[in-house]
Subunit: 145 residues, 2 copies
Amino acid sequence: MTREQEGNLPDTAAEVLREFARMSGEGVDTANCPVRDVLDRVGEKWTLLILVAMSDEPRRFSALQREVGDISKRMLTQTLRTLERDGLVTRTVYPTKPPSVDYRLTGLGRSVLTPLAGLIGWAGQKHDEIRAAREAYDEREGVAA
Amino acid sequence: MTREQEGNLPDTAAEVLREFARMSGEGVDTANCPVRDVLDRVGEKWTLLILVAMSDEPRRFSALQREVGDISKRMLTQTLRTLERDGLVTRTVYPTKPPSVDYRLTGLGRSVLTPLAGLIGWAGQKHDEIRAAREAYDEREGVAA
DNA sequence: GTTGGTGGTATCGAAAAGAGACCATACCTC
DNA sequence: GAGGTATGGTCTCTTTTCGATACCACCAAC
């Protein structure tokens, strides 16, 4: 049974997972597991939204804030700094009268869009199923009395 | 320039991103954007680790805790409940003398492993580049005096 | 009888996120 | 020249979340 289920995965995916599980299993902590380190960053709530917002062309600070919608300046600044530090985006300041700043993806930043799109596609395909599961669970476990 | 950079992405990826950006741009808030909703869950720090830990075969509570390593029982319980509610894992209780519980992926849960593996693969490939970027940034911006 | 393992929950302090005020600048309007 | 707008942030305060730990009931082995 389990074997067949595993068989659903593309070979490359299964291999990546095995490799990753092997590394994780060897008592490697977060500091020593670069994959976890990187994934924690990418998974940080706003990162994905910001990367996607910049995906087609450079954006200014305020444009990003408008586009993402419900992010605070504080978190936007913080996330952008992290992305810049990790080499995924570059920040450019133009010394105009009110200084303007734009953020754009680097090659590294662009390269993450492909796996990200895979995840976004999955979410888009499955969200109905997930919402149905949630409703069923809430009914079973009883939100109500 | 920008066109060429976009050209690096596979067509399907670019399409998914455009579609997502379009949705996000239309003043849709989190509640109305199921993709964001789903991605927030999957991105939740421990989710990915737990899913991968279960990827090959069912795991018991304590096995998961050992395998993930530095997760607390509290967070493990919480994350597992969420995954169960979202229909990604099932929880089975065996009424043995000390009751044992196992968690296993559903079909839906297994289906997310493929995009997840894409991201993990990316992280594995790029972490050297990212760490180099961080060091360069810290030197530029000066952690030291 | 005390220790260990099962799968958790309850509690509490620390860390992180969100909301919003504030800032320096300079432009435009009246 | 007072007021409003916009730029890209920072600073502070409050709320939420997280992590560590203690504890529970159960039973088995020692």
